[in-house]
């Protein structure tokens, strides 16, 4: 096969400086980056269709996150899928648990997390420690969070809602 036009993922030889034919590995990496991390669509692909796939992946993630964060999803009602999809644009998944957690914390900071979501986030935070960067781990000490109309207490891995 003759040389083909080099894509954006074409490798430039680190020392020689000449353009080499990109490997399948680098082309696959460029495609995944376009689909989940906001990288440009590699040359030659149908930009519209790759965009359709990118959106479909975010919709699929919205369903997966809703399965782990049912109250967060329910708190945003019919707009959940659109809401999550907008949030997830250009953010590779860290798994449903952490994606939902990151999103809930961001909404909470902005004051845009509805009460159901506030309660679910609090129930999680009092039983599991999550630093936002590494995998969440169970808490060893009791923890308390204020939620609308009461508090949530986490002790021995269980969350209790008091008041309200």
């Amino acid at each position: 096969m003759t040389a083909e036009p080099a894509g954006r993922s074409a490798g430039v030889h680190p020392r020689g400086g000449h353009v080499t034919k990109p490997t399948l590995a680098s082309r696959q990496a460029a495609l995944v980056a376009a689909l989940v991390a906001g990288a440009p669509v590699p040359q030659g692909f149908d930009e519209r269709l790759v965009g359709v796939a990118e959106q479909a992946l975010r919709r699929k993630r919205a369903g997966q996150v809703a399965a782990v964060w049912p109250h967060l999803a329910a708190s945003l009602g019919d707009s959940w899928t659109d809401h999550f999809s907008r949030w997830a644009r250009g953010r590779p998944t860290k798994g449903g648990l952490r994606d939902g957690w990151d999103m809930a914390r961001e909404l909470a900071l902005l004051g845009e997390l509805p009460p159901l979501g506030v309660a679910e986030l609090a129930m999680r935070e009092v039983t599991v420690r999550y630093d936002g960067r590494t995998a969440p781990r169970p808490r060893r000490c009791p923890a308390l969070r204020v939620v609308p109309g009461g508090v949530v207490l986490g002790v021995f891995g269980r969350a209790y809602r008091l008041g309200g």
Binding site: L24, A25, V32, L35, V36, V52, R61, P92
Partner: protein, 289 residues
């Protein structure tokens, strides 16, 4: 049974999912189901309802979704070990995976992505299939996916690519008629033409499912009832060569039992197979053409 088939005639089955375990357990004529390999535990302990099906003689095929057989990076040995241990725990006569890749460059795609239909991709697939089969006792069936886009440098037609892949790797074909329908509809081609060019005698079993349309593109989501054009494709396929087994895939927005039963009956009817929803004894489920 045709001696060349990898499975005995098992009729109509369904994808086992925890959410519909009760409904699946109550299908009196069921002899075949499939389970997502990655949903099973590493220690080989099976979910009780699935193990109960196995004990009553239902054939359970593990279906891998995350091995990334089409990935240019080497297979993850832990994933291969898990897949092999699941197959052993199920005493599966067959296992299946996809003609796809799901991760690259340290990023998970979260879905099955197409490989280019090139010689290079064939070499990658053949290498990965060899690695996987070295750990497996059971034969392997490969499923072509529903792809929303193609690579710009395809060298082979889909039928030629798949035929060459099966020949080179000694694998079977897991044909998903819903994927055939989705691809043909989105590319503006005729799905029945693909059936004419595929080696149907190498079909191990068949997936049937429904999807949704968004913005003029059909997505094979498994969250909607099987549409009539997919049932028509089941009829087309079975008129040419009825596979030993077919099964419904449903992965969310599960309908009430009556609706799922009606869908299973519609597929059985399209395939010319006995219903599995009524109290037929297993021994009458011949399914041989």
């Amino acid at each position: 049974m045709r001696t060349t088939d990898v499975l005995p005639p098992l009729g109509l089955g369904i994808g086992w999912r925890p959410e519909i375990a009760g409904l699946v357990a109550d299908l009196p004529g069921l002899r075949f189901c499939e389970v997502i390999a990655e949903s099973l535990r590493h220690d080989g302990v099976l979910p009780e309802p699935l193990d109960a099906l196995r004990r009553r003689g239902v054939t359970v095929v593990p279906h891998g979704t995350r091995l990334s057989l089409g990935g240019a990076e080497p297979l993850d040995p832990d994933r291969v070990r898990h897949f092999a241990s699941v197959a052993a725990a199920l005493e599966a006569p067959l296992v299946s995976e996809h003609v796809a890749f799901v991760r690259a460059g340290g990023l998970e795609a979260g879905h099955l992505l197409p490989v280019p239909r090139t010689r290079e991709a064939l070499r990658v697939l053949a290498r990965n299939v060899r690695t996987l089969r070295a750990e497996l006792d059971a034969p392997l069936a490969l499923e072509p996916i529903a792809a929303l886009f193609d690579w710009p440098d395809d060298e082979l037609t889909e039928a030629d690519f798949l035929t060459e892949l099966l020949d080179q790797t000694g694998t079977w074909l897991l044909l998903d008629v819903a994927n055939c329908y989705a691809n043909a509809r989105n590319r503006g081609t005729d799905p029945a033409e693909l059936l004419d060019r595929l080696p149907l005698e190498r079909v191990a079993y068949v997936h049937v499912a429904g999807g949704d349309e968004h913005g003029g593109i059909y997505h094979d989501t498994h969250t909607a009832p099987t549409p009539e054009p997919v049932l028509a494709l089941v009829r087309e396929l079975c008129a040419r060569h009825r596979p030993p087994a077919l099964m419904l895939e449903r992965d969310g927005r599960y309908p009430p039992a009556a609706q799922l039963h009606a869908e299973l009956d519609a597929i059985a009817s399209a395939a010319g197979l006995p219903r599995i929803t009524t109290g037929v004894s297993n021994t009458t489920l011949a399914g041989t053409p």
